[in-house]
Symmetry: C2
Subunit: 126 residues, 2 copies
């Protein structure tokens, strides 16, 4: 990640990959986290890839589709990326809901892993 535009391209690829996995087979998401990762999902904190993976798989819907409205990314020191996503998601037959999600990614070997993840639905912000 030599420069901001390269970082932005990598952030876009990651976000596309993340929600594609989420929407098709979210049991695969655990592999994007590490034992040191932390997720704050609707205010509830999960520590480590196993706990995070279980939480994501246990969410009470069958079908889910994310649409990204806007994504911003900033390079932070040591090849880390801060990513902010705003979008909409639709679960089962429910009406679409806005969401905001923030990731911090860092490389582990050749892979970019999620170390921090904060997710909120925007339902109470209207």
């Amino acid at each position: 990640m030599a420069n901001p535009s390269q970082a932005d391209m990598i952030a876009q690829q990651f976000v596309h990959h993340y929600y594609q996995k989420f929407d098709t087979d979210r049991s695969q998401l655990q592999s994007l986290y590490t034992p040191a990762s932390v997720m704050c999902f609707e205010g509830s904190v999960c520590q480590g890839d196993e706990q995070i993976g279980k939480k994501l798989v246990s969410l009470p819907f069958q079908k889910v589709a994310h649409v990204v409205t806007v994504m911003d990314s900033l390079l932070i020191e040591e090849s880390k990326l801060l990513i902010s996503v705003i979008g909409q998601l639709k679960t089962d037959e429910d009406p679409p809901h806005g969401f905001a999600q923030t990731f911090i990614l860092a490389p582990v070997g050749d892979n970019l892993m999620v170390f921090h993840d904060i997710f909120r639905l925007l339902v109470h912000n209207m």
Copy 2:
């Protein structure tokens, strides 16, 4: 910042302080950033406290009021804090708009400074 609940209290204090300054005299906000800080404001990147301060002061409204709907924070290594805020803001006589803002704070001497800041209005996400 020894533990998550202490970190969360510090995050809450910071967020209160930040929007209070923003809403009463935003020329003071520059002092919360450093020469190494980066802000991505509605997709436009500002580098360093001077450029960030100028941008915030130049925003085209007289009156502004932020209301925080929800705030999440995670401790990241080396006493840094990741903060995600979702809220509403009202400028002049316009109707309120939702916003999402992400901060990374880190200590400089005795002060906690903003090193990364991503701001988006939620107007296109309805």
